[in-house]
């Protein structure tokens, strides 16, 4: 009896292993091949999105998926990022630049077939400004008249906020000041509209965690609709036949994968499991470059990597010290030897070319001069300079850069630098509490305008964190720039402000980001832009191409 029972147990166990192995050899068609056949795009998306509610979603992974599901009043050109018609088929701007009137498409529809009109926007924007909702991007609305006041509770009547539906298909928006980048904001997910009926079906309008965004519930107005959401596994969107421009959409389906592990992601790409990767490990970039592999996409990215200096720390209060530090970072070498993806050495905060803006800066790599500066500040040959700590959060790139800079400062200035690696939340805590000496930081522009980079360092700016405060800088950014008439004048004001910033150096810019992606050659119309924003409506899949150069990198 015992023996028989055991045999009954062992047999299936022994059979299981070969079954597992055999099942491996069943099908050899890769995701990319099958995707090309069926029009399914397999997209490495970096991480599991926190939410697909456009008013709650933060972070690139969520926004990318939301941008496939939803569409704003305005779209951006996939290459130049110039505004182009979205839900609004046309718009007019008043002469003083404060009143925008949008004419909405009559054929815009929600994915459940409901008509999509101007009232949806008024209601959605009201919703987005409810503090209880916890919308982190509420400030995107603050250029609209009374929006900030309403959000902060000083104005309680939403009718006073500058948003009005003139009729079902006309939406009028009034701004406090002329805001050249306002149209861009309309393409940001926090200004998308949501389907009122659906939202209210699953809870109060301002309730944060309702189930309206889940598969089966979600109603969207974009080119795709949510088909499947398997947490931490994949999110699938499929063509929305009610989308006004559905005929032009070529993809049938997009599958988004939460690819947290960069190294794994690259291997998935190589094995044909992904059409596109979210990132590429730095050490893999030269391999693709050498092979002259066109699947490697490198493009400038609207973001700056910099070090914050805590100006409250005694020995870092002196701007000559800060300048000496800034001048002994060999940015070229860091970019070439460590980052390897053509990152542009940064000598100012704002990436050059942002809306035609080119910051001027006299910062350069000059160890000789830096030593002199340090001596001037009272530390000849680094003597007496206290041990200084660089804070960074756990990440390969941050670590590598910190190690290189530590060595550069040590070598050129003969000062003692310690590295302090902290886990993300601890790092955030320390950075925002000013509990650091020098801290690694990065900033990605919310919209393409120098303001997005420069308003960070206002005295009371939540993201300033350096303790640096300059009244003249504040005046230029928050008073002069919004009111000047012409674009050129505005840029000049920003230039002035940035010079102050680069003279005082509460931050040391290091490099301008590049976006690095691997994109399978079968993907057509994959356009690189400085926001690394994909345009799923334009992409298509060409099976033949992947066949030709598939496999080898």
């Amino acid at each position: 009896m015992n023996n028989r029972a055991r045999q009954q147990l062992i047999l299936p166990l022994l059979l299981l292993i070969p079954t597992l192995l055999l099942s491996a050899c069943g099908s050899s068609e890769s995701n990319v091949d099958s995707g090309n056949r069926t029009g399914t795009l397999h997209w490495g998306n970096g991480a599991e999105p926190q939410s697909l509610d456009p008013h709650i979603s933060v972070g690139v992974p969520g926004n990318t998926i939301v941008s496939a599901l939803m569409e704003g009043l305005i779209l951006k050109d996939s290459k130049t990022l110039a505004p182009k018609p979205g839900v609004a088929e046309s718009w007019t701007i008043s002469d003083d630049g404060r009143v925008y009137t949008f004419n909405l498409r009559k054929n815009a529809r929600w994915s459940n077939g409901d008509p999509h009109n101007a009232n949806d926007y008024v209601w959605s924007w009201w919703r987005a400004l409810q503090p209880a909702l916890g919308n982190l991007y509420a400030y995107m609305y603050f250029s609209i008249e009374n929006a900030q006041e309403y959000y902060e509770g000083t104005v309680t009547d939403f009718d006073q906020v500058g948003v009005k539906a003139l009729d079902d298909y006309t939406l009028q928006v009034t701004l406090t000041n002329p805001t050249p980048y306002f149209l861009q904001l309309l393409d940001h997910s926090s200004l998308y509209s949501v389907h009122r009926g659906t939202v209210e079906k699953f809870g109060a309008a301002d309730e944060r965690g309702t189930r309206w965004t889940y598969e089966g519930n979600n109603v969207s107005n974009g080119a795709f609709k949510l088909a499947d959401w398997k947490i931490n596994r994949r999110i699938t969107v499929e063509r929305n036949q009610y989308y006004w421009n559905s005929d032009q959409v070529q993809l049938n389906k997009i599958v988004f994968y939460p690819t947290e592990n960069v190294v794994s992601e690259e291997r998935m790409f190589r094995a044909g499991q992904l059409h596109r990767t979210n990132l590429v490990p730095a050490d893999k970039i030269p391999v693709y470059l050498e092979a002259n592999d066109s699947s490697l996409h490198i493009a400038p990215y609207l973001g700056t990597y910099f070090y914050r200096i805590n100006t409250r720390v005694p020995h870092l209060q002196d701007k000559t010290v800060r300048r000496a530090l800034a001048m002994t970072i060999d940015r070229e070498t860091i970019s070439k030897s460590i980052l390897k993806a053509g990152q542009i050495p940064a000598y100012a905060m704002t990436p050059p070319g942002t809306m035609g803006y080119y910051p001027e800066s006299d910062l350069r790599f000059d160890p000789e001069a830096a030593r002199q500066l340090l001596a001037d500040a009272g530390y000849p040959n680094g003597e007496g300079f206290p041990t200084t700590e660089i804070l960074y959060n756990t990440s390969d790139d941050h670590r590598k850069i910190a190690i290189a800079i530590q060595q550069m400062w040590n070598k050129h200035l003969n000062i003692d630098i310690k590295l302090l690696n902290q886990e993300w939340k601890v790092y955030l805590d320390m950075a925002s509490a000013g509990n650091y000496q020098i801290s690694r930081a990065g900033w990605i522009g919310d919209y393409v305008d120098p303001n997005s980079f420069l308003d960070m360092f206002l005295c009371n700016g939540g993201n300033n964190r350096t303790g640096w405060c300059n009244p003249e800088y504040d005046r230029l950014i928050s008073e002069v720039a919004p009111t000047v008439k012409s674009h050129a004048e505005r840029l000049a004001v920003f230039g002035q402000a940035e010079q102050i910033l680069m003279d005082e150096l509460p931050v040391i810019p290091i490099y301008i980001y590049t976006s690095v992606n691997l994109v399978n050659k079968s993907v057509n119309n994959y356009a690189d832009n400085i926001l690394n924003q994909p345009s799923f409506t334009e992409m298509s899949l060409q099976p033949e191409q992947s066949k030709i150069d598939g496999g080898e990198q």
Partner: protein
């Protein structure tokens, strides 16, 4: 047997309570809150969010109400994923992790036991040294090294198996299972070798041989049972380890498992999620330890009858 299980589960209650309490105060005193982000979060938002999740109450009050919820089986909402319940997230992550753990255990048992038995049958020969040296490497081969290595060989170069995924493509469960199972296979090999060596020196094995049974039968029928008792006792802790240790493998192979949720929750300070998964893991560990103890008892007729209360 049931009485034994009941008694043990009763003992588990204070253990769980202490685990919950310790974890609760640990996570709440860890630096960095659940809502801090790279971009400064406006104080109004923080306030609204904290009110929504009752974080504005005194800590002890939160603790009491959390305990109340737990008793009712409610793990609360996740902070990181608005609208998702912790139970929902656990339910989403558990199947993959459980399946992975099961396959890994299978790999570990099949490889480990056969290697251990083979080694024990001819101690101090090549048949002993080779699998045991391999086991030494296996024990110390970290999965963050073994995983990528296997992927490179079988996924990229030989193109036999998918490099990642879980249930998306045929065969994509093989590499993760092997990666996770190897360390345990090695440990089980050592345990079963030791156990078998001990049993093979017992008098009753000689009796079995003297009865004219063939050698394979002697091993399979008479030696394995006793020889594998150390392995059985190890199964409980091993399963706990597999569940807890699956994080690395889940990350390497992009498996949507609980381990990833757990670690992400820890990094995100998703308090309820950390607590929920901790309680869940703790319960699993207790249950698996109990099961493995019960199995060990069941395998031994004497203990079995004691537990059954039969004289």
């Amino acid at each position: 047997m049931l009485r034994f299980a009941f008694y043990r589960l009763l003992q588990a209650i204070p253990v769980l309570l202490i685990v919950i309490s310790l974890t609760f105060f640990l996570v709440h005193s860890a630096p960095g809150g659940p809502f801090s982000a790279d971009k400064a979060v406006p104080p109004e938002v923080i306030k609204a969010l904290e009110a929504q999740y009752n974080l504005d109450q005194p800590l002890w009050q939160q603790y009491v109400s959390y305990l109340g919820d737990i008793v009712q089986g409610d793990f609360g909402p996740s902070f990181k994923y608005p609208g998702r319940n912790v139970s929902e997230l656990i339910a989403a992550g558990l199947p993959a992790t459980a399946e992975l753990a099961f396959y890994a255990m299978l790999v570990a048992l099949v490889i480990g036991v056969s290697a251990g038995v083979a080694a024990a049958m001819r101690p101090n020969t090549a048949q002993d040294y080779i699998p045991m040296s391999a086991a030494m490497i296996g024990i110390c081969m970290p999965s963050f090294l073994l995983g990528p290595l296997l992927v490179l060989i079988f996924g990229i170069h030989l193109e036999w198996l998918p490099v990642s995924g879980w249930g998306d493509m045929p065969g994509d469960k093989i590499l993760p299972a092997i990666t996770l199972g190897t360390g345990y296979a090695a440990y089980i090999a050592r345990l079963s070798r030791g156990g078998m060596l001990e049993v093979l020196s017992q008098d009753y094995i000689r009796t079995a041989r003297a009865k004219g049974l063939s050698e394979p039968l002697v091993i399979a029928k008479h030696a394995l049972r006793g020889g594998l008792i150390p392995v059985v006792a190890f199964l409980g802790p091993a399963f706990a380890g597999l569940l807890g240790g699956s994080f690395v493998v889940e990350t390497i192979f992009q498996i949507p498992g609980l381990g990833r949720f757990y670690v992400q929750a820890a990094f995100n300070r998703d308090y309820t999620m950390i607590l929920g998964t901790t309680v869940f893991f703790a319960t699993l560990i207790i249950v698996f330890n109990l099961l493995s103890d019960m199995l060990a008892i069941w395998l031994n007729p004497k203990l079995r009858q004691q537990a059954q209360g039969k004289s």
